[in-house]
């Protein structure tokens, strides 16, 4: 492996079995073959097996940090476990330089009945520290975990925050050369998260290499040099983290015309036709316009318009209001006309969404229109989060 590299993956694959029963049988078969010194032919798929990680190759330089992103089940955790040496590749080659540490399910080795002090030693040993190393780092760990007087209390009486802090404390003080981080940044209060990032910064300064899995896009974007986007076991590299995040968001939706759901376009006495939609790739500050020409054979007075914006990734409504929120009455007169809806000055960024327009007659007795339209909210360089607010700042002498 090249001197400058900390991690090198060459065509790495990992397969899983969908059926538990077959998995047991395959397990016995593989064990048997290995035990008598035969190859397992792991590069071939047997019935019910599939590639969870498929031909992933990348290098990480010493001191670099890479973010692994992708939807659930895309193979991020499996890949991380292979770098850790917990899972061995079924095909390809994983090379790691130096000691690997992991912030994966911190505190996994803690025994609830043992005290904090006892668990520090046991966990340190499991994480590959020697007795002298634990002795040397003991005070720093206790200090970092901020458990003070509870040091000699069984950890089952710890608050979940203390538990995580202690686990994190041991893991970061194991001083690994390669640190694997899986979703642990989501735990603990904000004060602790700040502390974690500070400590990770210190390790980075020391030359520790990082591989981070997180759904916290801000953490990924701000901490990582580049991102690897995994999807169905396949992988793509994005040197610009923001570009990677954008592609990631794209996995959840597509804004092509076919994806528009036109559930209802007419009522008993009204029909909307030749609907025109404005630009659906929106940057913060732009407007989205929809023009709905209609032909009515009677008057619809005091109709109701619902507008809702959903985020493709998160459940729940991002925004929802009716025309009444804007103090505006909606009347469709008999004959031909046009309803123009303008969503002004968009403040959403780096996300995929769907906007729903629903029109009802008075008192919602009849549904006249219901369309769901995908929208693409463009990311802003160096910004994450779903809202992009106009901000002003200046340095005053």
């Amino acid at each position: 492996m090249d001197e400058r590299l900390a991690i090198s993956l060459e065509g790495v694959c990992k397969k899983y079995c969908k059926s538990l029963r077959r998995s047991m049988l395959y397990g016995l078969e593989d064990f048997g073959r290995n035990a008598v010194g035969l190859r397992t032919r792991s590069e071939q798929l047997r019935p019910d097996e599939f590639w969870a990680v498929d031909d992933v190759s990348f290098d990480v330089e010493r001191g670099g940090s890479v973010g692994l992103i992708g939807p659930n089940g895309s193979g991020k955790t499996t890949l991380l476990k292979m770098i850790n040496g917990i899972f061995w590749p079924d095909r390809g080659k994983v090379s790691i330089r130096g000691k690997v540490g992991a912030l994966i399910a911190v505190g996994a080795g803690f025994h609830p009945l043992l005290t904090g002090r006892e668990n520090i030693y046991i966990n340190g040993a499991i994480l590959g520290m020697s007795k002298t190393e634990v002795d040397r780092q003991f005070d720093a760990i206790v200090d970092f975990a901020d458990i003070g007087e509870f040091l000699d209390t069984p950890v089952k009486h710890y608050s979940s925050g203390m538990f995580v802090r202690l686990g994190f404390g041991v893991a970061v003080h194991a001083e690994p050369d390669v640190m694997l981080v899986d979703e642990v940044l989501a735990v603990g209060d904000h004060g602790f998260q700040v502390k974690c990032f500070k400590k990770m910064g210190e390790l980075r300064e020391r030359g520790t290499t990082f591989v981070i899995v997180s759904h916290n896009m801000h953490a990924i974007a701000s901490f990582c040099d580049w991102v690897a986007l995994l999807n169905h076991g396949k992988f793509e590299r994005y040197d610009n983290a923001y570009e990677g995040l954008k592609q990631y968001a794209k996995l959840f939706a597509s804004s092509d015309d076919a994806a528009i759901e036109r559930l209802v376009s007419a009522g008993k006495y009204i029909e909307f036709r030749d609907v025109e939609l404005g630009n659906r790739e929106l940057s913060p500050g732009q407007d989205f316009t929809a023009t709905l020409p209609f032909h009515a054979t009677r008057d619809y007075e005091d109709a109701e318009l619902d507008v809702a914006i959903f985020d493709a990734r998160d459940p729940g409504v991002h925004y929802q209001a009716t025309n009444r929120a804007y103090g505006k009455k909606l009347d469709f007169a008999r004959g031909d006309g046009k309803l123009v809806i303008r969503v002004k000055d968009i403040r959403i960024a780096a996300s995929f969404g769907r906007i729903v327009f629903a029109i009802w007659s008075k008192n919602r007795t009849e549904q006249l229109f219901w369309w769901r339209i995908p929208l693409e909210f463009q990311p802003v360089e160096a910004a994450t989060g779903k809202n992009f607010l106009p901000l002003e700042f200046e340095v005053v002498a």
């Binding site: 492996m1 899983y16 998995s23 047991m24 397990g27 016995l28 593989d30 064990f31 290995n34 035990a35 010194g37 035969l38 190859r39 397992t40 792991s42 590069e43 010493r62 001191g63 476990k81 292979m82 850790n84 040496g85 917990i86 899972f87 061995w88 590749p89 079924d90 095909r91 080659k93 994983v94 090379s95 790691i96 330089r97 130096g98 000691k99 690997v100 992991a102 994966i104 399910a105 996994a108 080795g109 025994h111 009945l113 043992l114 006892e118 030693y121 046991i122 040993a125 499991i126 994480l127 590959g128 020697s130 007795k131 069984p154 050369d177 300064e205 020391r206 030359g207």
Partner: protein, 317 residues
């Protein structure tokens, strides 16, 4: 000594170079499918020896975790170790007294004979059950942290070793008690060889545990089956009774048991340490030596097999 200073070197480089010079953590580890096999069988022994010496502190910590946590939230603690053997012993005393079972001709009070037997036997039975379940119980750790799984299996022997010492204390008490009551007993010099005579039993238990732990990791039937099996084995092995004599007026079943015992390595491994305590010498030395060789073979095959296959356990457990 030459120092090359590059003006264009990035700021961080010195720190990394220092790290490189320290050399401690610069080992490159490579994971390939069927890794151990590529390097040949002979390298396996060196790898195992290095791993065991590197992880002895980890093994000790896991052992401590297992033992301490077991007794911590228990009011009676060590009493439980003595309790089960005492109940078994009491039952046998009762059965023997009523003439339902014959324990054979003994050269020691029955309670001393039986407790010594149980002390050695449970090294095997309790150790095997704990060993076979060690990977399953540690499954959560195995799938999250990369550490020596051999340590986990070895450390699981801890509780049975602790039980052994408690039972030794119990038998010492019994010996003193009987001696005060008039039993003629003087500790023979052979007692000093007891630790050595126990070694084969430990090796056999560990060797079997390595295999059973892996198998139990894949199919849980092993653990279920094993608890029943050890009870059954204990009744078939002369632990609480003396070896049946093949000659005499024996029925066919007594003859069957006698020949079974003849080829039962567990019998020799249990009786040898007991003989050393009670008589000062091993009465069936060739049987003991053959059993020891068998135990050693099981251990070597077990640990090598474990080493070759343990990399697959995390994905199946």
């Amino acid at each position: 000594m030459t120092a090359v200073v590059r003006a264009d070197a990035p700021e961080k480089t010195p720190a990394r170079d220092e790290l490189a010079k320290s050399g401690v953590s610069e080992r490159v580890v490579t994971y390939l499918p069927d890794n151990s096999l590529r390097r040949g069988y002979l390298s396996v022994f060196g790898d195992i020896a290095r791993e065991l010496s590197r992880t002895h502190w980890l093994t000790y910590q896991l052992f401590k975790r297992d033992v301490v946590s077991f007794y911590k939230q228990s009011l009676l603690g060590a009493f439980w170790i003595v309790f089960v053997p005492l109940v078994t012993l009491g039952t046998f005393v009762l059965l023997k007294g009523s003439g339902v079972v014959a324990v054979g001709k003994l050269d020691a009070p029955y309670s001393v004979f039986a407790v010594l037997g149980v002390a050695v036997w449970q090294l095997f039975s309790q150790g095997l059950v704990a060993g076979a379940n060690s990977l399953v119980l540690g499954g959560d750790l195995i799938t999250r942290i990369n550490f020596s799984k051999k340590s986990l299996v070895i450390a699981s022997m801890g509780r049975s070793v602790v039980s052994f010492f408690v039972l030794v204390l119990l038998s010492l008490t019994l010996i003193v008690g009987h001696a005060l009551a008039g039993w003629q007993y003087q500790p023979p010099a052979g007692v000093l060889l007891v630790p050595l005579a126990l070694l084969p039993m430990l090796l056999l238990t560990l060797g079997l545990s390595f295999y059973l732990a892996l198998l139990n990791g894949i199919v849980r039937d092993i653990g279920t089956m094993l608890s029943m099996l050890v009870t059954f084995l204990m009744l078939l092995t002369p632990v609480l009774y003396d070896k049946p004599e093949p000659g005499g007026v024996a029925t066919w079943s007594a003859r069957a048991l006698a020949s079974l015992t003849e080829y039962n390595p567990l019998y020799y491994l249990v009786s040898a340490p007991r003989d050393l305590v009670l008589r000062g010498s091993i009465s069936e030395l060739s049987g003991f030596l053959a059993s020891s060789a068998f135990a050693l073979a099981v251990f070597v095959v077990g640990i090598v097999g474990f080493h070759l296959t343990e990399t697959r356990i995390a994905e199946r457990i």
